[in-house]
Amino acid sequence: MNRTSSIALVVLLAALGLGMTYFVQLGSAQRIKAEQRLIDSGHLLDLIAPDSYDNQPLEHPITIEATPLTNSTLLGGYLATRGDQPVAVLLRSQTPGYAGAIDLLIAVDANGRLLGVKTLKQLETPGLGAKIADWPNAWLRVFSGKSRTEPGDSGWALKKDQGQFDQIAGATITSRAVINAIHDALRYFDEHRQQLLGIPAHG
Protein backbone atom coordinates (compact mmCIF):
# COMPACT_ATOMS: atom_id res chain seq x y z
CA MET A 1 0.00 0.00 0.00
CA ASN A 2 2.25 2.74 -1.21
CA ARG A 3 1.45 6.02 -2.88
CA THR A 4 1.70 5.02 -6.52
CA SER A 5 -0.42 1.94 -6.11
CA SER A 6 -3.02 4.02 -4.30
CA ILE A 7 -3.14 6.56 -7.06
CA ALA A 8 -3.35 3.82 -9.66
CA LEU A 9 -6.20 2.25 -7.74
CA VAL A 10 -8.04 5.56 -7.57
CA VAL A 11 -7.64 6.11 -11.30
CA LEU A 12 -8.90 2.59 -11.93
CA LEU A 13 -11.86 3.27 -9.66
CA ALA A 14 -12.67 6.47 -11.53
CA ALA A 15 -12.58 4.67 -14.87
CA LEU A 16 -14.69 1.80 -13.59
CA GLY A 17 -17.16 4.17 -12.00
CA LEU A 18 -17.60 6.28 -15.10
CA GLY A 19 -17.86 3.23 -17.31
CA MET A 20 -20.42 1.52 -15.16
CA THR A 21 -22.58 4.61 -14.85
CA TYR A 22 -22.40 5.20 -18.59
CA PHE A 23 -23.44 1.66 -19.41
CA VAL A 24 -26.28 1.59 -16.92
CA GLN A 25 -27.53 4.88 -18.32
CA LEU A 26 -27.28 3.61 -21.90
CA GLY A 27 -29.09 0.42 -21.09
CA SER A 28 -31.92 2.03 -19.23
CA ALA A 29 -32.55 5.15 -21.34
CA GLN A 30 -35.04 3.46 -23.65
CA ARG A 31 -37.15 2.00 -20.91
CA ILE A 32 -37.15 5.19 -18.92
CA LYS A 33 -38.21 7.21 -21.95
CA ALA A 34 -41.03 4.79 -22.72
CA GLU A 35 -42.20 4.92 -19.13
CA GLN A 36 -42.10 8.72 -19.13
CA ARG A 37 -44.19 8.77 -22.28
CA LEU A 38 -46.67 6.46 -20.64
CA ILE A 39 -46.92 8.68 -17.58
CA ASP A 40 -47.34 11.78 -19.70
CA SER A 41 -50.02 10.26 -21.85
CA GLY A 42 -51.84 8.93 -18.84
CA HIS A 43 -51.75 12.37 -17.34
CA LEU A 44 -52.68 14.42 -20.37
CA LEU A 45 -54.88 12.09 -22.30
CA ASP A 46 -57.39 11.04 -19.72
CA LEU A 47 -59.69 13.75 -21.01
CA ILE A 48 -60.71 11.68 -24.01
CA ALA A 49 -62.02 8.14 -23.74
CA PRO A 50 -59.08 5.82 -24.50
CA ASP A 51 -60.96 3.67 -26.95
CA SER A 52 -62.10 6.56 -29.10
CA TYR A 53 -58.71 7.13 -30.68
CA ASP A 54 -55.93 4.93 -31.90
CA ASN A 55 -52.96 7.15 -32.58
CA GLN A 56 -50.37 8.62 -30.24
CA PRO A 57 -51.50 12.24 -29.97
CA LEU A 58 -48.49 13.30 -27.94
CA GLU A 59 -46.17 12.16 -30.68
CA HIS A 60 -47.85 14.35 -33.28
CA PRO A 61 -48.42 17.80 -31.90
CA ILE A 62 -50.27 20.30 -34.02
CA THR A 63 -48.05 23.22 -34.83
CA ILE A 64 -49.71 26.35 -33.58
CA GLU A 65 -47.44 29.28 -32.97
CA ALA A 66 -48.18 30.89 -29.63
CA THR A 67 -51.35 32.66 -30.63
CA PRO A 68 -52.60 35.40 -28.36
CA LEU A 69 -56.38 35.38 -28.12
CA THR A 70 -58.67 37.82 -26.34
CA ASN A 71 -58.01 36.60 -22.81
CA SER A 72 -55.54 33.79 -23.18
CA THR A 73 -52.70 32.42 -25.26
CA LEU A 74 -52.73 29.15 -27.13
CA LEU A 75 -49.51 27.27 -26.61
CA GLY A 76 -50.04 24.23 -28.76
CA GLY A 77 -52.27 21.30 -29.40
CA TYR A 78 -52.51 17.59 -30.09
CA LEU A 79 -54.76 15.74 -32.50
CA ALA A 80 -56.35 12.40 -31.71
CA THR A 81 -57.49 10.38 -34.69
CA ARG A 82 -59.14 7.07 -35.24
CA GLY A 83 -58.28 5.48 -38.53
CA ASP A 84 -57.90 8.65 -40.52
CA GLN A 85 -60.81 10.49 -39.00
CA PRO A 86 -60.01 13.23 -36.50
CA VAL A 87 -61.67 12.46 -33.21
CA ALA A 88 -60.60 15.24 -30.90
CA VAL A 89 -58.28 18.18 -30.59
CA LEU A 90 -56.49 18.93 -27.33
CA LEU A 91 -55.57 22.59 -27.00
CA ARG A 92 -53.15 23.93 -24.43
CA SER A 93 -54.14 27.36 -23.30
CA GLN A 94 -52.54 29.75 -20.87
CA THR A 95 -54.40 32.54 -19.17
CA PRO A 96 -53.54 34.91 -16.32
CA GLY A 97 -55.40 33.90 -13.20
CA TYR A 98 -55.53 35.50 -9.79
CA ALA A 99 -51.96 34.84 -8.67
CA GLY A 100 -50.18 33.67 -11.80
CA ALA A 101 -50.71 31.92 -15.08
CA ILE A 102 -53.11 29.00 -15.37
CA ASP A 103 -52.30 26.29 -17.93
CA LEU A 104 -55.36 24.48 -19.20
CA LEU A 105 -55.82 21.50 -21.47
CA ILE A 106 -59.08 21.82 -23.39
CA ALA A 107 -60.43 18.86 -25.35
CA VAL A 108 -62.79 19.64 -28.22
CA ASP A 109 -64.32 17.00 -30.42
CA ALA A 110 -64.61 17.16 -34.19
CA ASN A 111 -67.98 18.90 -34.00
CA GLY A 112 -66.86 21.68 -31.74
CA ARG A 113 -68.24 20.20 -28.56
CA LEU A 114 -66.19 20.31 -25.38
CA LEU A 115 -65.08 16.91 -24.18
CA GLY A 116 -63.42 18.14 -21.02
CA VAL A 117 -61.07 20.63 -19.43
CA LYS A 118 -58.11 19.88 -17.22
CA THR A 119 -55.76 22.16 -15.30
CA LEU A 120 -52.10 21.47 -15.96
CA LYS A 121 -50.46 24.20 -13.91
CA GLN A 122 -51.81 26.77 -11.57
CA LEU A 123 -50.68 29.02 -8.75
CA GLU A 124 -54.04 29.97 -7.32
CA THR A 125 -55.01 30.27 -3.68
CA PRO A 126 -55.04 26.84 -2.04
CA GLY A 127 -58.54 25.92 -0.97
CA LEU A 128 -60.18 28.52 -3.19
CA GLY A 129 -58.97 28.94 -6.76
CA ALA A 130 -56.70 25.92 -6.54
CA LYS A 131 -59.82 23.77 -6.60
CA ILE A 132 -59.52 23.83 -10.38
CA ALA A 133 -56.52 21.56 -10.03
CA ASP A 134 -58.41 18.70 -8.39
CA TRP A 135 -58.98 15.78 -10.66
CA PRO A 136 -61.65 14.59 -11.33
CA ASN A 137 -63.14 18.02 -11.01
CA ALA A 138 -66.80 18.70 -10.44
CA TRP A 139 -66.67 22.34 -11.46
CA LEU A 140 -64.79 21.74 -14.70
CA ARG A 141 -67.11 18.90 -15.57
CA VAL A 142 -69.92 21.42 -15.97
CA PHE A 143 -68.30 22.53 -19.22
CA SER A 144 -68.29 19.10 -20.84
CA GLY A 145 -70.78 18.96 -23.68
CA LYS A 146 -70.99 22.73 -24.09
CA SER A 147 -70.00 24.33 -27.34
CA ARG A 148 -69.79 27.78 -28.84
CA THR A 149 -73.42 27.72 -29.82
CA GLU A 150 -74.73 26.25 -26.63
CA PRO A 151 -74.69 28.55 -24.70
CA GLY A 152 -74.27 31.40 -27.12
CA ASP A 153 -71.38 33.82 -26.96
CA SER A 154 -73.09 35.94 -24.33
CA GLY A 155 -73.78 32.91 -22.16
CA TRP A 156 -70.08 32.18 -21.71
CA ALA A 157 -69.66 34.17 -18.52
CA LEU A 158 -70.34 33.93 -14.81
CA LYS A 159 -73.89 34.26 -13.61
CA LYS A 160 -73.02 37.53 -12.02
CA ASP A 161 -71.80 38.75 -15.42
CA GLN A 162 -75.11 37.82 -17.04
CA GLY A 163 -73.79 34.50 -18.19
CA GLN A 164 -74.70 30.97 -17.43
CA PHE A 165 -72.00 29.47 -15.25
CA ASP A 166 -71.61 29.37 -11.52
CA GLN A 167 -68.30 30.44 -10.08
CA ILE A 168 -66.20 28.57 -7.54
CA ALA A 169 -67.14 29.99 -4.16
CA GLY A 170 -64.62 32.64 -3.22
CA ALA A 171 -62.67 32.44 -6.48
CA THR A 172 -64.36 34.80 -8.90
CA ILE A 173 -61.25 35.88 -10.76
CA THR A 174 -60.04 32.33 -11.25
CA SER A 175 -63.45 31.19 -12.47
CA ARG A 176 -63.71 34.09 -14.87
CA ALA A 177 -60.22 33.39 -16.26
CA VAL A 178 -61.00 29.74 -16.88
CA ILE A 179 -64.33 30.47 -18.55
CA ASN A 180 -62.75 33.07 -20.82
CA ALA A 181 -59.92 30.74 -21.76
CA ILE A 182 -62.36 27.96 -22.66
CA HIS A 183 -64.48 30.34 -24.70
CA ASP A 184 -61.40 31.62 -26.53
CA ALA A 185 -60.36 28.08 -27.35
CA LEU A 186 -63.81 27.25 -28.71
CA ARG A 187 -63.81 30.37 -30.86
CA TYR A 188 -60.35 29.56 -32.16
CA PHE A 189 -61.45 26.03 -32.96
CA ASP A 190 -64.41 27.33 -34.91
CA GLU A 191 -62.31 29.74 -36.91
CA HIS A 192 -59.53 27.28 -37.68
CA ARG A 193 -61.50 24.07 -37.71
CA GLN A 194 -60.23 22.76 -41.01
CA GLN A 195 -56.63 23.55 -40.29
CA LEU A 196 -56.79 21.93 -36.86
CA LEU A 197 -58.58 18.81 -37.92
CA GLY A 198 -56.41 18.38 -40.96
CA ILE A 199 -59.42 18.11 -43.26
CA PRO A 200 -58.50 19.44 -46.68
CA ALA A 201 -60.53 22.58 -47.44
CA HIS A 202 -63.38 21.93 -49.81
CA GLY A 203 -62.81 25.08 -51.79
Binding site: M1, R3, S6, L9, V10, L18, M20, T21, V24
Partner: protein, 206 residues
Protein backbone atom coordinates in the same frame (compact mmCIF):
# COMPACT_ATOMS: atom_id res chain seq x y z
CA UNK B 1 -24.90 -4.46 28.15
CA UNK B 2 -27.35 -2.49 30.16
CA UNK B 3 -29.91 -0.48 28.26
CA UNK B 4 -31.68 2.69 29.16
CA UNK B 5 -29.24 4.63 31.25
CA UNK B 6 -26.23 4.49 29.02
CA UNK B 7 -28.20 5.24 25.86
CA UNK B 8 -26.71 8.70 25.78
CA UNK B 9 -23.20 7.30 26.34
CA UNK B 10 -23.21 4.87 23.45
CA UNK B 11 -23.95 7.63 20.91
CA UNK B 12 -21.49 10.37 21.80
CA UNK B 13 -22.34 13.79 20.45
CA UNK B 14 -19.24 15.36 19.03
CA UNK B 15 -18.56 17.42 15.96
CA UNK B 16 -18.36 14.46 13.58
CA UNK B 17 -21.66 12.98 14.59
CA UNK B 18 -23.18 16.45 14.47
CA UNK B 19 -22.29 16.68 10.80
CA UNK B 20 -23.62 13.20 10.15
CA UNK B 21 -26.87 13.91 11.96
CA UNK B 22 -27.31 17.24 10.22
CA UNK B 23 -27.27 15.56 6.83
CA UNK B 24 -29.67 12.92 8.00
CA UNK B 25 -31.97 15.70 9.09
CA UNK B 26 -32.18 16.95 5.51
CA UNK B 27 -33.36 13.56 4.38
CA UNK B 28 -35.68 13.17 7.35
CA UNK B 29 -37.51 16.39 6.68
CA UNK B 30 -37.28 16.61 2.94
CA UNK B 31 -38.18 13.12 1.83
CA UNK B 32 -40.94 12.27 4.27
CA UNK B 33 -43.71 14.31 2.69
CA UNK B 34 -45.42 11.06 1.88
CA UNK B 35 -45.15 7.46 2.99
CA UNK B 36 -44.05 6.21 -0.43
CA UNK B 37 -41.28 8.78 -0.64
CA UNK B 38 -40.03 7.80 2.81
CA UNK B 39 -40.10 4.10 1.97
CA UNK B 40 -38.35 4.64 -1.34
CA UNK B 41 -35.62 6.71 0.20
CA UNK B 42 -35.10 4.23 3.05
CA UNK B 43 -34.74 1.39 0.59
CA UNK B 44 -32.29 3.27 -1.61
CA UNK B 45 -30.33 4.43 1.43
CA UNK B 46 -29.96 0.92 2.85
CA UNK B 47 -28.88 -0.59 -0.44
CA UNK B 48 -26.38 2.13 -1.32
CA UNK B 49 -24.80 2.34 2.14
CA UNK B 50 -24.42 -1.43 2.40
CA UNK B 51 -22.75 -1.71 -1.00
CA UNK B 52 -20.62 1.31 -0.19
CA UNK B 53 -19.42 -0.10 3.12
CA UNK B 54 -18.56 -3.42 1.50
CA UNK B 55 -16.56 -1.78 -1.26
CA UNK B 56 -14.81 0.64 1.09
CA UNK B 57 -13.88 -2.23 3.37
CA UNK B 58 -12.03 -3.81 0.50
CA UNK B 59 -10.43 -0.56 -0.66
CA UNK B 60 -9.46 0.93 2.67
CA UNK B 61 -6.74 -1.63 3.30
CA UNK B 62 -5.17 -0.96 -0.09
CA UNK B 63 -5.24 2.82 -0.07
CA UNK B 64 -3.07 5.46 1.51
CA UNK B 65 -5.33 7.49 3.86
CA UNK B 66 -4.83 10.62 1.79
CA UNK B 67 -6.55 9.05 -1.22
CA UNK B 68 -9.35 7.50 0.80
CA UNK B 69 -11.51 10.59 0.53
CA UNK B 70 -11.20 10.76 -3.24
CA UNK B 71 -11.95 7.08 -3.60
CA UNK B 72 -14.99 7.35 -1.37
CA UNK B 73 -16.33 10.28 -3.38
CA UNK B 74 -15.95 8.36 -6.65
CA UNK B 75 -17.50 5.24 -5.21
CA UNK B 76 -20.43 7.07 -3.63
CA UNK B 77 -21.17 8.97 -6.83
CA UNK B 78 -21.10 5.82 -8.94
CA UNK B 79 -23.27 3.81 -6.59
CA UNK B 80 -25.84 6.57 -6.16
CA UNK B 81 -26.10 7.25 -9.90
CA UNK B 82 -26.59 3.59 -10.69
CA UNK B 83 -29.10 3.22 -7.86
CA UNK B 84 -31.13 6.17 -9.14
CA UNK B 85 -31.13 4.81 -12.70
CA UNK B 86 -32.17 1.36 -11.52
CA UNK B 87 -34.93 2.92 -9.43
CA UNK B 88 -36.13 4.85 -12.46
CA UNK B 89 -36.29 1.67 -14.49
CA UNK B 90 -38.17 -0.13 -11.73
CA UNK B 91 -40.77 2.56 -11.21
CA UNK B 92 -40.28 5.98 -12.77
CA UNK B 93 -43.19 7.53 -10.91
CA UNK B 94 -41.88 6.43 -7.56
CA UNK B 95 -38.39 7.73 -8.24
CA UNK B 96 -39.64 11.09 -9.48
CA UNK B 97 -41.71 11.37 -6.33
CA UNK B 98 -38.45 11.32 -4.35
CA UNK B 99 -37.27 14.47 -6.04
CA UNK B 100 -33.60 15.22 -5.67
CA UNK B 101 -33.16 13.70 -2.21
CA UNK B 102 -31.83 10.48 -3.65
CA UNK B 103 -28.68 12.26 -4.71
CA UNK B 104 -28.01 13.41 -1.14
CA UNK B 105 -27.35 9.79 -0.23
CA UNK B 106 -24.00 10.09 -1.97
CA UNK B 107 -22.99 12.98 0.25
CA UNK B 108 -24.20 11.10 3.29
CA UNK B 109 -22.02 8.10 2.39
CA UNK B 110 -18.93 10.27 2.06
CA UNK B 111 -19.59 11.96 5.39
CA UNK B 112 -20.20 8.64 7.11
CA UNK B 113 -16.96 7.27 5.70
CA UNK B 114 -15.05 10.38 6.66
CA UNK B 115 -16.26 10.21 10.27
CA UNK B 116 -15.40 6.54 10.51
CA UNK B 117 -18.95 5.22 10.76
CA UNK B 118 -18.29 2.16 8.64
CA UNK B 119 -15.50 1.04 10.91
CA UNK B 120 -17.80 0.61 13.88
CA UNK B 121 -19.15 -2.78 14.74
CA UNK B 122 -22.10 -4.03 12.74
CA UNK B 123 -24.26 -3.87 15.83
CA UNK B 124 -23.95 -0.12 16.14
CA UNK B 125 -24.44 0.38 12.43
CA UNK B 126 -27.53 -1.78 12.49
CA UNK B 127 -28.92 0.17 15.42
CA UNK B 128 -28.37 3.52 13.75
CA UNK B 129 -29.79 2.30 10.45
CA UNK B 130 -32.80 0.88 12.23
CA UNK B 131 -33.35 4.14 14.05
CA UNK B 132 -33.14 6.10 10.81
CA UNK B 133 -35.55 3.76 9.01
CA UNK B 134 -38.08 3.78 11.85
CA UNK B 135 -37.99 7.54 12.11
CA UNK B 136 -38.37 8.04 8.36
CA UNK B 137 -41.31 5.66 8.07
CA UNK B 138 -43.01 7.03 11.17
CA UNK B 139 -42.61 10.61 9.96
CA UNK B 140 -43.74 9.72 6.46
CA UNK B 141 -46.84 7.94 7.75
CA UNK B 142 -47.77 10.72 10.16
CA UNK B 143 -47.14 13.55 7.76
CA UNK B 144 -49.19 11.96 5.04
CA UNK B 145 -52.04 11.07 7.36
CA UNK B 146 -52.18 14.46 9.02
CA UNK B 147 -51.37 16.48 5.95
CA UNK B 148 -53.62 14.83 3.40
CA UNK B 149 -56.18 13.28 5.65
CA UNK B 150 -55.81 10.05 3.68
CA UNK B 151 -53.17 7.45 2.96
CA UNK B 152 -52.54 6.87 -0.72
CA UNK B 153 -52.63 3.36 -2.07
CA UNK B 154 -49.06 2.00 -2.14
CA UNK B 155 -49.90 -0.83 -4.51
CA UNK B 156 -51.02 1.52 -7.22
CA UNK B 157 -47.55 3.05 -7.33
CA UNK B 158 -45.83 -0.28 -7.77
CA UNK B 159 -48.17 -1.69 -10.35
CA UNK B 160 -48.06 1.51 -12.36
CA UNK B 161 -51.80 2.02 -12.33
CA UNK B 162 -52.54 5.66 -12.84
CA UNK B 163 -55.43 7.73 -11.61
CA UNK B 164 -57.50 5.23 -9.74
CA UNK B 165 -60.50 6.99 -8.37
CA UNK B 166 -60.03 5.44 -4.96
CA UNK B 167 -59.11 8.11 -2.46
CA UNK B 168 -57.06 5.84 -0.25
CA UNK B 169 -57.76 5.21 3.40
CA UNK B 170 -59.52 8.38 4.40
CA UNK B 171 -59.00 9.57 7.91
CA UNK B 172 -60.29 13.11 7.73
CA UNK B 173 -62.90 14.05 5.21
CA UNK B 174 -61.90 17.64 4.60
CA UNK B 175 -58.33 17.13 3.54
CA UNK B 176 -56.31 17.39 6.71
CA UNK B 177 -53.84 19.98 7.89
CA UNK B 178 -51.80 20.95 4.87
CA UNK B 179 -48.97 22.29 7.04
CA UNK B 180 -47.89 18.77 7.88
CA UNK B 181 -46.78 17.97 4.34
CA UNK B 182 -44.70 21.14 4.07
CA UNK B 183 -41.19 21.47 5.48
CA UNK B 184 -42.07 23.63 8.53
CA UNK B 185 -44.70 21.10 9.50
CA UNK B 186 -42.10 18.37 9.20
CA UNK B 187 -39.81 20.19 11.63
CA UNK B 188 -42.66 20.75 14.07
CA UNK B 189 -43.69 17.12 13.90
CA UNK B 190 -40.13 15.90 14.40
CA UNK B 191 -39.79 18.20 17.41
CA UNK B 192 -43.02 16.87 18.88
CA UNK B 193 -41.89 13.29 18.35
CA UNK B 194 -38.56 13.97 20.06
CA UNK B 195 -40.36 15.66 22.94
CA UNK B 196 -42.67 12.70 23.31
CA UNK B 197 -39.70 10.30 23.23
CA UNK B 198 -37.89 12.25 25.93
CA UNK B 199 -40.98 12.40 28.08
CA UNK B 200 -41.41 8.65 27.80
CA UNK B 201 -37.77 7.77 28.48
CA UNK B 202 -36.47 10.36 30.90
CA UNK B 203 -32.72 11.07 30.65
CA UNK B 204 -30.89 10.11 33.83
CA UNK B 205 -29.99 12.89 36.23
CA UNK B 206 -26.22 13.17 36.86
Amino acid sequence: MNTGNNYSESLPMDSSSTLRNALMLTLLIGATHSLMAALGLCLMFMVVTELFSLAMGVLRSRLVPATCLLASILLAATLTSCAELMAQVWSLQWQQHLGFYGALIALQCVVLEHTGFFQNGWRQRLRLNGLFATLMIALGLLRELIGNGALGNPLSWLSGATQTDWQGWVLMADGGLRLATLVPGGFILLGLLIAAWQAWRPTPTH
